[in-house]
Amino acid sequence: MHYPWWYVPFLTSPMLIALIAVIHVYVSMYAVGGGLFLAVETAYAYRSTNSRYLAYLKEHTWFFILVTVVFGAITGVGIWWTIGLASPLATEALIHIFVFGWAMEYVFFVLEIVSAFIFFYFWGRLPPRTHQTIGWIYGISAWLSLVLITGITAFMLNPGTWIERQDFWVGFFNPQFLPQTIARTGGALLLASLYVYLHAAFYRADDPELRGLISTRSTRPGLLGAVLVTVGGVWWYLALPASAQAALAAASALNILMVIIFAATIVVFAMLYFGPYRNPEWITPGFALLLFTFGLAAIGAGEFVREAVRKPFIVYGVVLSSQILPEEVERFRSVGYLESGLWTRALVAERFPGALGGGGTIDEAALLALPESDRLEAGRVLFFNACNDCHSVADGYSSVAELMRGWTPEMIRSVVEHPERAQFFMPPFAGMPEEVDLLTEYLVSIARPYPPGLQIPGGG
């Protein structure tokens, strides 16, 4: 309410976060798992004096740098860009709680980037031992950056006792920290295998022995990763707040996504084990692409579920998904929602000056006396600020016009008054009764009619 609301038609602005975040995770997890893979495998290649495998690893490192170093960094910054635009209050809170966590992560980013370039560009010129050390500096730095960001994102889902103690480390080592670290480490190893396998499938290695070696060794982190994803995933579920577990059970879309996560992980495990691990000659582009697709499906679904179960919060217990603080709800209800928001107050003062009472504060009753078109406009303002975080208007993501298809004005009013009673994962509406009227009137005006052909005898 202290910041202007960014209206993104059809998609809603928070969905842009999901879009960028999923793309980023696909690359950043490879940046972690791939880094560990390269460190382990380079050491193995030197130890076994396998110069052909070493040459392949150099090829792969170029592909790895091309995909991760810039694309990963830009999409990572892209998440920052987008959360600040779409969820400024939550970002403001997180940055003040965890700026030093991110600053530590930055140190590891710098180590990653310097080590990655030296690892690749000085390949063959660095002594093997130094080369391997730099590979490990990359791998460990990348994994530690995963650990640091996981502490922060896990906090968003379950801050534990931070709300009472407000201590950085209490927030960082929250109940979700370990399970998410395990699951994400698993995801990173799993994706690393799939990327290597994909790259190797298109890599024109004429030597069948080399192809077999790449194939076998690239599956090992993936198999371990699939196990870690499963263990971390189950623990993640057990460490969820009760409301998040209930949200997971209540939303059918999330049920399906959970099935996709576990089913795709099991399929990937089976395909890796019975495919390249046991039958290295199966290294074909088609098979690799299929495997890669399953891996992306599992990881993408996991990210989406992780975001979705936080509702009605953006940061659990700290910032509501309607961009206000839980402790502000009562105050907003007594003072007025439009009056409480800096930008909404400015809008009313400018657009409906007649609705300003003594002292320049908004008189909500006067808003109800406005002409119908102005009341609908005021209702729309309320909708954007209170609902558009999760719902588009007429068409698009979770559109209210569709969700309320055929609802009576009384039903709509009842939900507006107490959305949290209609659906426990919705935040309460923090407006005065007059604002409930305005929002209801606006929603009634956009709700679509009951679908034709469903007039069943005995029905409503």
Binding site: Y7, F100, T130, F168, R380
Partner: protein, 375 residues
Amino acid sequence: MDTPLIGPETLLGFPAPYWFLAFFKVFGFSLHMIPMNLWYAGLLTVLLAGRFGGENARRLRDRFLKALLILIALGINFGIVPLLFTQVAYYQVFYPATILMAWPWFSVILLVMLAYYGVYIYVVGLSRPSLSPFRRAFGWLAAGLFIFVGFLFANGFSLMTNVSGWQALWRSTSFAGAALGTGLNLADPSLVPRWLMMFGLALTTTGAYVLVDSAFFAAKEKVEYRQWARRFAFAVYTGGMLWFALAGSWYFFGTLGSEIRLTLLRSPTLILTLLTALSPGLPWLVIRFNMDREARGLALLTGFAQYGVVALNAVSRQIVQNAELAPVVDVTAQPVRLQPSPMIVFLVLFVVGLGIVYWMVLQAVKAGRRPTQEA
């Protein structure tokens, strides 16, 4: 008159004193500026030189573009720290300003990515017998995109301090009070000179880079190339310095409010203002003396002096930013809820990280002197 749309202070407080946040913001920004200057003005400069110059100019262009792949990655990563600390200390103005221009701001991500891969497509072509027009076009496209991204950044950061202009912009680019995110700070007279001033500064960094590159990393090039590069560095630096002086004067005398100008011309900031304005003279002189001979020490001095120019600029800009915001928000007086142990862990990691980076670079320098062995 529009009321200032500045939200309340965060109840969480600053996790460190303001000076600490400002130090890392400015330090991080100065580090970010070095590689960023090279994409911003350097790419266009070397493409133009390669297009209209001779063999040496084409050699420089190819060398520059190859290095640019690494410089872009470094620049993006170095940009994280100033972004972090800006959001901690300037959240009350950063979020509204960027939301009002959300789509252009968001497009920075896509444009930088496109520009990076444009450079990459160009560089891959350098290993082939001839560079196709298609690949050339990507190089020019990347140069144009980087300059446009600079324009968007100038918009974002000038809008942060142009608080009085928010409401008019919001009024013209909103729907039922919700920002459409299509605004740009075009009505602000400081926008264009600010953008151009940065371009001039970026040209000077490009000149200094060409000199340092020819002294330290071009040992395998012909002596004629290195001689040419030193002269070219001087020409670019001179042009950049003049550009910086003109655009800077326009910015300073033509757009800054009289109060702020007086602050900058009053002791003790007067010394800083003079140093900021005159500092490009030192690297320029060093490059001039270095022009006819190979002297690594002088090239190194040029590099450090140029960092000084950029850092002074960053400090002065910080002072101007605070002075512009002073009537609506005093960022230096916000409550602090110190987080001592995370701060110490960060500082320790920072120092250890610098040590590891130093060690790795040292290994690379040693390895660079060895002949390549096949993997």
